[in-house]
Amino acid sequence: MKAAVITFPGSNCDRDLARGFELAGAEVVQVWHKETELPAGTDIVGVPGGYSYGDYLRCGAIAAQSPVARAIAAHAARGGYVLGICNGFQVLTEMRLLPGALMRNAGLKFICKPVTLRVATTDSAYTAGYAAATEVVFPVAHHDGNYSIDAEGLARLQGDDRVAFRYAANPNGSTDDIAGVLSPNRRVLGMMPHPERAVEAAQGGTDGSALFRALAGVMASA
């Protein structure tokens, strides 16, 4: 598995995400936002958490227009894998690679704590390593994680089994308790919680490891 992890000005989870991929055996290349092409042979792009471009205008809005975003869109259009976490999820919705939008948390507070999620589908390269309805604990750290989508879009997500994770106890007002969603081809995942902050015992838990391992397994057999 060859992973390209993007760094925008203001990204702060890029090294954590690289570590998550590396622990699963991936070759990781860090890619600066001004690059117009991804490294040859990239299997998966990691779009990390942080505050890209200071969250100016809207979280992820400026990053979605950056040179590397065009390369990410082309990679996704070719059927490539893209994992966006936290600000990365916001970037992917702003790029319209994923439906919906992330709004200010319903309680208006920045939320930074471990949360319990339920694996909502095992039908993806990201979630194939979990048993159905498994509960996992990943940290969240966001101010704008309130997933918003209209009724028609929600029905489509539900009908296509494209909700990847749901909050066991909704912390931010997200529609249908949604914590992560998949693209129509199931190869693009955006999620607010941080699996890469749950891959080593020193981080307080390792529930995220199965996500990266499952990805590595899919890439190895491809």
Binding site: L57, R58, A61, Q65, T93, E94, P99, G100, A101, M103, R104, N105, A106, G107, L108, N146, S148, I149, D150, G173
Partner: protein, 79 residues
């Protein structure tokens, strides 16, 4: 020409920030306050002197970047 863009959340979208402002206003004693919605104003200087061209260009800017039309609506004033 100058353009002024107003970006607001769509009416059907809950606005937690507007709600917090409403709450603070009532706490301050402004008992008359009903609903509050918070948005953005963006001023843009344009080289063109053609009003229609300016409006078309700013509309494209709104759709591509200035508003997230999933949750937001926009109004354009050419001044």
């Amino acid at each position: 020409m100058k353009a002024r863009v107003h970006v607001m959340l769509k009416d059907a979208v809950l606005d937690p920030q507007g709600e917090a402002v409403r709450h603070a206003l009532t706490t301050l004693g402004f008992a008359d306050v009903g609903r509050v919605r918070q948005g953005k104003v963006i001023d843009i200087d344009l080289a063109t002197t053609d009003r229609a061209a300016a409006e078309a260009e700013v509309r494209a800017m709104c759709e591509k970047l200035l508003a997230n039309t999933v949750i937001e609506k926009f109004d354009i004033e050419i001044v």
